[in-house]
């Protein structure tokens, strides 16, 4: 879909491409405005994809990126921005300044990977294109937002780099971390584990491991135990062989939301 952008009705290229002063300004603007979602060095954060991977799902020309920054992406978390044109170009110059990453192209078989995904239990917790479980992140677009190295790490060592749940300074309604593992202990000693969908000083709302919503008042609980670990098991080589891992990653990499 082509959205008209003022001054960008046709394809144009960045007037400050490669300009070191512009790259510096772009870095500063990026840190102040974009880093809460995309990470301090644009390598991806809790909510926004890695922008250093030279993987531009919504168009890779300067015009496309300009449009994405200016108008945002309806249907995603990417908002419209009020930068001046020169500032947007500076940000693009900054994003283009990263050396293209070494490609860890997934060498596996996509179709085999899809089979592993459904048979190894991944889809019990993860949604892809409207099918699957609710406990973990929806992976319908994961290939567009995460590099292969991240996907491998997430499977082998899911605790290593948890979604940081970066606080959104504009979120006045306080939706908290989505994939934090929480165990509550009831007055009767029952332990219920799940992910916290919401929480405040007085209450907590869980999606438990059976994918049922469970709500509690904290005054009725003995304890709320928060663990800095993922509910996702670490898939060792015994569980998913190196070859199967390549197949699985090939499948995940193919998921681009289209």
């Amino acid at each position: 879909m082509a959205l008209p952008v003022k001054g960008l009705e046709k394809l144009v290229s960045n007037p400050v491409a490669g300009n070191s002063a512009a790259i510096k300004e772009g870095a500063s603007l990026f840190r102040a405005n974009c880093s809460p979602c995309h990470g301090l060095n644009a390598r991806g954060g809790g909510r926004g994809p890695d922008l250093t991977a030279n993987r531009w799902v919504h168009g890779s020309s300067d015009t496309d990126i300009f449009r994405t920054i200016t108008h945002g992406l309806p249907g995603t978390e990417m908002p419209a921005n009020g930068f001046e044109d020169s500032e947007t170009w500076a940000i693009i110059a900054y994003l283009r300044s990263f050396a293209p990453p070494k490609r860890h192209a997934a060498s596996g078989d996509r179709e085999k990977g899809e089979k592993i995904f459904s048979e190894s239990g991944c889809s019990r917790c993860h949604m892809v294109k409207g099918r699957g479980g609710l406990l973990g992140p929806d992976l319908s677009r994961v290939g567009a937002s995460r590099p292969v190295s991240y996907l491998i790490e997430s499977i082998r060592e899911p605790d290593k780099e948890l979604s940081t749940g970066m606080l959104d300074p504009n979120n006045h309604y306080g939706l908290p971390l989505v994939y934090d593992t929480v165990t509550v202990v009831t007055a009767g000693g029952q332990r219920i584990t799940g992910v916290a969908k919401n929480e405040d000083t007085f209450s907590i709302q869980l999606l438990d491991t059976d994918q049922h919503l469970k709500f509690f008042l904290k005054k009725d609980l003995k304890e709320v135990i928060r663990e800095r670990k993922s509910l996702m098991p670490a898939y060792s080589e015994e569980m998913v062989s190196p070859e199967e891992l390549q197949d699985l990653v090939a499948y995940l990499e193919s998921l681009r939301g289209d």
Binding site: E25, A27, S28, R31, A32, S35, P36, L40, G46, T164, G165, M166, L167, H172, Y173, G174, P176, L177, E199, D200, T201, F202, R228
Partner: protein, 531 residues
């Protein structure tokens, strides 16, 4: 004549007429008419305390909503309403304003300023409230004007420009009226402005004096700025000061030097950023200053309410000024001359080891931000921030909302461009430890913590305390809470559905005590349920 009216009002105990005017004498004596809420902090001493006690530790569990007023706008709702003789006056997002029947919440008038499109307040299109004198309300606007509205109609009586909003000068502060002056301080510390505190004539809007908070050439303190850095030095003054009528001194705090997180181009202490200023109320002349965080690299604005308490100090009766500062220390100063008496930490901090006997911090050199990131506590939003503390003379405790957030600060030079943000890079919260908060009850003289009530999230709302032994506090997850002022026990709470970015006030009408709090875009009023 006015004194007679005031006396009559005191005899009756409550004002039933909605027609009387607010004199300066009434502002000085605001503590004697708790049925009203006449200034931002309720009284000049900055206590945010009320001697009303109908809502108390026994009755608070019967609080119920009486009315709600919808501002019908988005963004942070930071107002502290003014209540005069049955009428409540408040401001809202995008410089809206309103007058309500304080009993029912029904609107008398609404005002909205016609704002220009390109405004750059750092932290939302917010306003913290009115000041009142006579039949006029005073408001400082986002496009850097000061205006007077008629109390009965909301019509503009005068409108003066204080600074150029194109250069990112804005106002968010609730003004302070002293005698015939309306006093305001500017915002824009994120944009390299040159800060000031101004006084305008309540009658005409004419500017009476200005105190520049960045010392320029020829001013004492100018030597604390390297080169031309003073020209973009920041030092905004965006929270309402306190006033001592006996000393005739206004105590007005200032904010961070610009750029906030990069100091290499502004070597020196950067006066008068992060200071408490004591200004002569008639002339705006500086009587004394005290700087809390010299050469700040962390955005530690000192824009917290100065709390004025007269108390014994080392066996001597003294006029004290107490401030729980964003940098994590609770300071005690002598407010007659600014002498430093003590500073005690009231939470986790790493930027300084301690405050030396001269009142200057002994900084931690490992905590200086660099290009790759340095973790520092408290974070840029501070151990506490602009939201009001409350001093309760019955418990002799200071109630302060606090945050546990630590941030990773990075630092890099940034060219100045007029009207653009000027931060010197950025900070992000520590991604591992989710920040939370607490309302702390502190001994204001020793800093000793008597109790704390833990919040799930970092707060943006302060505290109101009363003679009923209750502390009212609002938190970021939308809970409005009544706590026992002596123990911190939760007496009552209600979920208001949106983050609270302000602090409660209280007043009384027809024998009924109201407590009012903004949340989301709604002003809520609560009282003890009566059938």
């Amino acid at each position: 004549m006015k004194k007679t009216v005031l006396l009559l009002g005191l005899l009756l105990g409550a004002w039933t007429s909605a027609q009387s005017q607010v004199s300066y004498e009434r502002l000085v004596g605001a503590a004697r008419e708790p049925q009203n809420w006449l200034t931002y902090s309720g009284r000049y001493s900055g206590w945010r305390y009320s001697s009303l006690d109908q809502i108390n530790t026994g009755s608070a569990s019967h609080l119920a909503m009486l009315w709600a007023f919808q501002v019908a706008d988005l963004g942070q709702f930071e107002t502290t309403p003014i209540v005069v003789d049955g009428v409540l006056y408040g401001t809202g997002q995008n410089d809206r304003a309103f007058a309500l029947d304080a009993r029912t919440g029904r609107a008398i008038w609404r005002y909205q300023r016609n704002l220009p499109e390109k405004l750059q307040p750092c932290c939302g299109m917010v306003n913290r409230g009115f000041a009142v004198l006579g039949d006029r309300l005073f408001m400082a606007t986002l496009d850097a004007h000061v205006i007077a509205l008629d109390t009965k109609t909301g019509n503009v009586v005068w409108d003066v420009m204080a600074a150029d909003y194109h250069q990112a000068y804005t106002f968010t502060v609730a003004p302070l009226v002293v005698k015939n002056e309306v006093i305001v301080g500017v915002s824009g510390g994120e944009y390299g402005i040159r800060g000031f505190v101004d006084a305008y004539s309540t009658a005409t809007g004419r500017r009476l004096w200005r105190f520049e908070t960045v010392a320029g050439p020829g001013q004492p303190g100018h030597e604390t700025w390297a080169g031309d850095s003073w020209k973009t030095g920041g030092a905004p003054a965006w929270i309402t000061g306190s006033y001592d009528p006996e000393l005739n001194l206004i105590f007005w705090p200032t904010g961070n030097p610009s750029p906030s997180n990069y100091g290499d181009d502004r070597h020196g202490d950067n006066l008068y950023s992060n200071c408490m200023l004591a200004l002569d109320a008639d002339t705006g002349r500086l009587k004394w200053y005290f700087q809390f965080t010299p050469h700040d690299l962390y955005d530690y604005d000192a824009t917290q309410i100065p709390v004025l308490i007269d108390a014994d100090w080392d066996g001597q009766s003294r006029k004290l000024l107490i401030q729980a500062n964003r940098n994590g220390f609770l300071y005690v100063l002598d407010r007659t001359d600014g002498k430093f008496l003590s500073a005690k930490r009231f939470g986790r901090l790493t930027w300084a080891k301690e405050i030396g006997p001269d009142g200057k911090p002994i900084v931690n050199k490992d905590a200086v931000p660099n290009a790759t990131g340095t973790e520092v506590c408290p974070g840029a939003l501070g151990l506490t921030n602009w939201f009001s503390p409350s001093y309760n003379p019955d418990t002799r405790l200071l109630y302060v909302a606090t945050s546990t957030e630590c941030d990773i600060f990075t630092s890099a030079p940034q060219p100045y461009r007029a009207g653009h943000d000027f931060l010197g890079s950025v900070y992000v919260p520590d991604p591992i430890r989710r920040p939370s908060g607490a309302l702390k009850a502190l001994d204001p003289f020793t800093g000793i913590e008597k109790w704390e009530f833990k919040y799930f999230s970092s707060p943006n709302g302060g505290a109101l305390s009363t003679a009923g032994g209750v502390v009212f506090a609002g938190e970021s997850d939308g809970n409005f809470i009544a706590l026992d002022a002596r123990t911190g026990r939760d007496l009552w709470h209600v979920q208001l559905g949106a983050a609270i970015y302000s602090t409660a006030i209280t007043y009384q009408l027809d024998g009924q005590q109201f407590v009012v709090i903004p949340a989301g875009s709604t002003l809520f009023a609560f009282a003890i349920f009566q059938q």
